[in-house]
Symmetry: C2
Subunit: 483 residues, 2 copies
Amino acid sequence: MGWGDLGAFGEPSKETPNLDQMASEGMLFLDFYTANPLCSPSRAALLTGRLPVRNGFYTTNAHARNAYTPQDIVGGIPDYELLLPELLKKAGYTNKIIGKWHLGHRPQFHPLKHGFDEWFGSPNCHFGPYDNRALPNIPVYRDWEMIGRYYEDFKIDLKTGEANLTQIYLQEALDFISKQQASQQPFFLYWAIDATHAPVYASKHFLGTSQRGLYGDAVREIDDSIGKILKHLQKLGISEDTFVFFTSDNGAALISAPKQGGSNGRFLCGKQTTFEGGMREPAIAWWPGHIPAGGVSHQLGNVMDLFTTSLSLAGLQPPSDRQIDGIDLLPAILQGKLIDRPIFYYRGNEMMAVRVGLYKAHYWTWSNSWEEYSKGIDFCPGQNVSGVTTHTQEEHTNLPLLFHLGRDPGEKYPLSFVSDEYQRAMEQISAVVQQHKVTMVPGEPQLNVCDKAVMNWSPPGCEKLGKCLKQPESDPKKCFWPH
Amino acid sequence: MGWGDLGAFGEPSKETPNLDQMASEGMLFLDFYTANPLCSPSRAALLTGRLPVRNGFYTTNAHARNAYTPQDIVGGIPDYELLLPELLKKAGYTNKIIGKWHLGHRPQFHPLKHGFDEWFGSPNCHFGPYDNRALPNIPVYRDWEMIGRYYEDFKIDLKTGEANLTQIYLQEALDFISKQQASQQPFFLYWAIDATHAPVYASKHFLGTSQRGLYGDAVREIDDSIGKILKHLQKLGISEDTFVFFTSDNGAALISAPKQGGSNGRFLCGKQTTFEGGMREPAIAWWPGHIPAGGVSHQLGNVMDLFTTSLSLAGLQPPSDRQIDGIDLLPAILQGKLIDRPIFYYRGNEMMAVRVGLYKAHYWTWSNSWEEYSKGIDFCPGQNVSGVTTHTQEEHTNLPLLFHLGRDPGEKYPLSFVSDEYQRAMEQISAVVQQHKVTMVPGEPQLNVCDKAVMNWSPPGCEKLGKCLKQPESDPKKCFWPH
């Protein structure tokens, strides 16, 4: 989902009454970012509080490439990494993930081995349908074992866009919350729905209800579900004890527009890019009785902050034996403070850009290659900023392209290199970047090796269902990451 | 000002708390349009309830050209046209215009000859400073006579952007409202401020206060002033008797960005064009006790509707001896009804596009000429939609380009000509267009002839001030309209 997909963020159809109300009862973050313009690294960053280049969710196969966890990925979340649910356990929390995990699908990466107590959902994207020969269909798990596969047991009709998945995920969420409330146990729920990820889907009741087409139907169903979750918390009398945060893992995929792609408002480009459209996210914090209603924050925030902030809420300290990139947002949320901190925009192991205050400096620019672009893969449809949305990897480390995101949120007008403003801003930014680079110790890259043999042929539980498939011989290769 | 300039419409700096509050207490219109992508014709349409092609505010000097009322324009609002204040007089209203008139500056076009009882402001844009030889500085009027000139008596500092004009206009408004309330007389106030028109300005107190630079400072001052006007109405106890509507006369001038230009959100291009960025406007209706708070309307609205709606509020009928294009919006505002009506997008005397429901059909596309574009005049900076933002005038009357503005508000993805959806939509649209064209009787074009002799050399009142200038010999010519 993109920054511009919510009514509260200016989507002209204004079809998200529940999220808009969540914002009016809570706090809207206008300058909130993901740690990566792609799903897996962003989610790994959210759960570890660390940049993907630290937690291993990146590739070194080629320069500045986005990578994720398709079915044939060999890597996943390293055991060394401490995930939010692992830490929350120490404070007595029960942790559940509903939806897409995306931190590796091989046995050692299973979410229940990394702190979650319960899981309902899938390890990978809901791409498909596959023929179960060249590629197996993606399994859906309940806790340790698979209970079926997408397109087989969990239908997604690619023709009509109908799928009941968001409703199933919603019911799972409501049931889990009820159970926790009944047992008076604290809980962490990671509700990782994916209806707005192509192939986009919605359930029958929502199909055709949006001005925006199928994508809008999916947004409306998510919006409706969030309204139901918040009302459920209120009905159970635990809304004042429950901190809720809504955000997305990357900008809207404009490549899928207009039928399956959302909106990044007036920001440049979308998913896969380190322009604002790829990484600035809708974000709302909600905690009645604690967060002042109708608040708006310009705090530079990041999904990694949810790690540190959640620990803070649980009375826990973040690990001190490693670099944590997330900060505790509670002073911003509860006292309206503005904490000075930069935002780093990575693609693979390359720091492409950095934001300090209202200034954003691009050290590298790239949308995608001419080769991919000529095939019709366009991350910036209808947008072309000369020298910025480049189709070759352009290095600017000696003289970064500098934008003022207040006057120019669309990254269209680089500041003049000879202006005083450029000199002043770059002096400050250079110090931040130097400090960052000096202390950066990259983790072992997890997204380099792919192997058909590791696909979801025979996930645990497949025997009971008669759904085990024959695994081909191992043939590990460097994964190919074109972007 | 553009659609995207308000926090309520998704401007990422969210610096319009007063307008946002006005929206939360009133009704936000998401699909509200101007009648023309340029100032004079738009204002003529607002005050007459008629398309510029009917009321004469267009040119036939060249095909599909925007025209307005610079100092050397010979034409202006024809006597035949009935303006809103002329009609409101019949219901006992006192009418005042504060700010830019722009319906002609020669004596016969004076606003007090067209229904206004009071005027404080200027007949033309605040361009300048001029040398009073080749060009006179623009006069500022109080009622019948000039009281000074811009840059001479009413300072605008082009270097710092400082000017006190919005504060003066605000005080004029507050005083007028107080006077009317004291005398218990109904009033119509047309508060036509122009701080966001290049050269953009703000008063000292607001300079440097916006994240968005000088343009944002100007927006903040307008926002603050509107807050003060609304509070004044409340303090005087007449807010429940006063209908207030906020809108703009054209989309943000992206040609002036980033320093002097605003935002049209995610819409395509800006001022001067018939793409959404040129003509969709921010719009808020406010009338406590009558309009339900926090309402949002998708009613297709137009500035011309303010003519008809205002008459309706005053218990008057629109003239029946001429075609009125504006409709009465009260059913939409007070009862949430949706009235079926098209939106026509004109440039000069050419109907460039039409919107029916969520579909918009382009019959002609043009941003501006290659010649102007090559000089750096770019109405669509950073945006280029192939075959849509064309630099030659492209006719599509036989096979209009069709967009679905719900799925594709940015006008990036024309529908396939062979799709069923295209056929169905165009059938409906063609009928609307045919009906429109058959009944169209253009007025006498007012914006064809320019003459240096008619400039503001010696406006009424200049003698008292010693500010009369020598008028050159008459040399009428066809005005040159490049866009």
